[in-house]
Symmetry: D2
Subunit: 327 residues, 4 copies
């Protein structure tokens, strides 16, 4: 359940307040150069610190526990582990009885019969996206020249993102956003009918990122209001280039070599400074909760690099599958 | 690649113009009553015939090739096969050289080195959704009391769906739409962190349906413009009922027992009567193409029952996994 | 559960006395020539008719339900279906209450809560090996020049196989045997640490064949009595050729390019003409059972071609995985 | 590839001379008590130190990196990591050019294009069985009352095991052995047709243990010389108890509730003190090699606890699958 992929597989583990978080990458080709320093750019992008993000600033560089020899991948499973160092357990003890609205606290308690690690959301914590980003660094290397770029294009319904975030911070509240991801130099032919469409693979892993509420490819929800004569993208040369790109680079679930484009909706983070109503499951009373600890006023600020990682992982797996069977 | 699920798995096969289409369902519990007549309601809903859909009206009742004894599932793989009977191959021979815009014709040719069955889209044809619907009939039975209802709520940007479709038919064009799906009496605790969130499972299979461009859960893309104080759903009783349902029945990727709600965007179907520009890959010239044969002016009309089937399959699998490990 | 393989996957279905048996092959490369006549040699080898085998002589040529276009594989799932034509249900109705010793009748009843198709063993029937053999025909084609040859080398403890079988037939009894399988022109590097050793993959699928009680590779059980200095195979040239072959062509779970050799033990078939004691589960009494219907005095006679098919399927899958990641 | 299981899955990683070895266990039910001390008995059994085993005596108690809270499993992935502490890299540098006979050195070099970590066999090292044993400790807990006991019953062809090992030590050589494994109080109904027979699952994981050359269930290879009338086990009561147990507790791939019995053949370990001939791949010459470092004269002495772990993992997975679908 905590594994993604058919050939290039990512197994994720860890909790917010346990010893740490990590991933095992299996099916990684040998001979890929990989140094600790390679993780820095993306790990730093995910790290908090910017206005609108929490001040939790662990360095978050993974230790490589296996799969590397003389600075290159060996073909054996590659394990990346990020030890938790900046944990304040005291903040979260209330969660046992008072599940935070919008979080997984209540359902986790139900599902795991009360045995879940509820501190900081445990295995459900957004902190696990750091492990995902570290896996994405490797996946990007597998993809070679393919360029994956995601950015926040809207927050709180506005393209003036800075302003939207500032207002949310001042209101001790949070605000959602929209991420756009574009992939260029992508090989043609990735994706498999019937069930492993490129959209299937990407959406599967993207919805594993906490706080995502929607995803659309190419024309997306706008397509619902369009005519076929307008939506169809005319092919204009033998490489498959199209005059428009309503398809978002995908036909029949398969990359057509044009730019892959998708957008995702990020909800406002559930942890806010403002008081909220919620149930005390021990007493059965609805009471007021103020979530203490560290909050992100706009969690969407940290999602672009996570989206890139998720996309890279999904595409690297499809790339390996395609290479095996059709080449 | 043509398989979905971990425990209740669906393997799909077949082509539009080959002998037929079908599915193998593995991991189906024994003792479920299953008669040929059980397939009729949903298969009829998917069949064409309504204004805006094609006149191809095969009866489409599956033959049960295995897995049934004395009217009940046995626990062995259940195979459903729908023989193609109404095939007119002559319509499609041009596709070899002239890929239809918006279809998988071009990418399929590239991916499979020219060996793909291009007639009617072959394995990429929307006809395979008939097999999916037949699998959905079984999945719904596994889910018992859970109610899954999908409907078309918008076509061509309007809630006057009939009018939007009529206009498209008259213009020899096609139009997209939006489907809303609601699931009630759903067990709490379905879905798995980190990678098998309910949204991951549903979106994975939903994007296998041809023509889908987007999916959103609960508040969806609207969440991007909301504040956390507004978006969080207060829990109001010990069963986990919430006062609002922006979450769409899911927290942390896990069903919380409230109504599961999602919407999907369906693009206008790519086959239209209107002339279009496309590339002749044999000559290298862009030329005018008129797609002959049978068209759906609004393919979205046929998608609700397919969406229900996809949802049922995803939930039935998560149900079996949850039952195994946590109960 | 009824699926084998990671990339080249075989899903098997069907029952002895239902409509038929079949397989879906997914991950099959496009462009492989495949005609109905290609199935004849191996299907005929499996068919009964020889002394010591049952007189059930269905032609058993599979219908290709999907995945073929103009005589070649398309890259889409390939479905092979063999309709049952020579079914005499009356023979088997007693099995409901009186499970045959050595068969799966009793455990199937328990496992499936009485819903299993018990006629002729249902899904547990040796008849399903016909579907496996048909899949093996395709797998052998994927492997190209690799030669897989299995033969019966011993029956009833003797290398005079004909005599051993004759004696069993006369005694209305059955007799076991040993199959030896040798694979030549096998690529180096197939098999994956840690869990997908070549021996793991082959033994996994070989034990799916009914009546197999043991498997050994290279020196096999004899290795237990040997010294390391004697067992180690000296490498004598740069291609990896070894002077001896105690390893059976495998080191560390990976093919080393030398001949792959293994042997399997086949038990005497459980259905015999002689009267046997067994429990009547309806009455709770132990009573005498004479299994009527068709028997194989030496089921091992039919196992070589099934072993080849199983081996080809396992190797074809490992071949595709190896190609994807390491080449 | 480095993962085993469908629901209770084990992902293994690590190298002999890297930072360490470990496993991620996914699909582990919540609420299972697990203390570091629980690992001691089995880890100690696997540790070297006895006559005939190497003097490498790392404590080998795993650190629990995730999945435990307040001494109990949480339902999230459980990660066990054993840091390598007693590594002497200098011993192994020759392996780069001079592959040890009987080891994976040569094939690993070929398969991974020379990027494999060859020190001490790297990912192919028998040291990874320590990680397997740690996973087995958890699997045994999942199985509850089921008792799994494996022991060495023969070494060097003799039941006087001590003597056989002493002689091998004196000869600077090594000797093979036979392990017998018996499982009692095993639930009826484990195992799945067609491909996931109990024998398939157990043999798959058993052949992942280095040095295993054969496996047989119940009557095993002896069955090949038996008659059906002799081999069939009469059922004598309604629980399915049988008068004899040639089946080894399995019919049709499914546990019948009687004792599960199997035996495995272990080859003599490949590393011996005696000089051996092998190829220097750098020079192309055959030369004499004396493998320095630490050797096991009878690696089979350490295999029983590994066999138990492998068996427990396979059965725990089948147990979870069976529980999900049929109960």
């Amino acid at each position: 359940m905590n594994r993604f992929g058919r050939l290039f597989t990512v197994t994720i583990f860890g909790e917010s307040h346990g010893p740490g978080i990590g991933v095992v990458l299996d099916g990684c080709p040998p001979g890929i150069s990989l140094q600790p320093v390679d993780f820095e750019p993306d790990m730093n992008r995910r790290r908090s610190g910017a206005p609108g993000t929490t001040p939790r600033t662990e360095p978050d560089l993974p230790e490589i526990l296996s799969g590397i020899f003389e600075g290159k991948t060996t073909g054996a499973p590659l394990t990346l582990f990020i030890r938790n160092t900046n944990v304040r357990s005291g903040d979260y003890s209330k969660l046992k009885d008072i599940p935070r609205p919008g979080h997984a606290d209540f359902v986790a308690m139900q599902k795991y019969g009360g045995f879940n690690d509820y501190r900081g959301g445990g295995h459900f914590s957004g902190r696990l996206t750091a492990a995902l980003v570290s896996a994405g660094v490797v996946a990007k290397k597998i993809l070679g020249d393919t360029e994956i770029r995601a950015k926040l294009v809207e927050a709180g319904g506005s393209s003036d993102i800075e302003k939207a975030v500032d207002e949310a911070v001042k209101a001790k509240d949070s605000v959602g956003g929209i991420i756009e991801c574009r992939v260029n130099q992508i090989p043609q032919g990735l994706g498999e009918p019937f069930f492993d469409a490129v959209e299937s693979a990407i959406s599967h892993i993207v919805f594993a990122i906490p706080a995502i509420k929607g995803i659309e490819f190419g024309s997306g929800f706008k397509a619902a209001a369009m005519r076929g004569s307008e939506h169809n993208d005319p092919i204009i040369d033998e490489s498959g280039r199209t005059a428009s790109n309503h398809a978002g680079g995908i036909n029949g679930g398969i990359t057509n070599g044009n730019e892959l484009v998708f957008r995702i909706a990020v909800k406002p983070s559930s942890s806010i400074g403002k008081p909220q109503q919620t149930l005390n499951v021990a007493t059965g009373d609805v009471e007021e909760l103020v979530v203490e600890g560290r909050h992100d006023a706009c969690i969407a600020l940290r999602v672009p690099v996570v989206t890139e990682a998720a996309t890279a992982i999904a595409l690297a797996d499809l790339f390996q599958v395609n290479k095996s069977i059709y080449q």
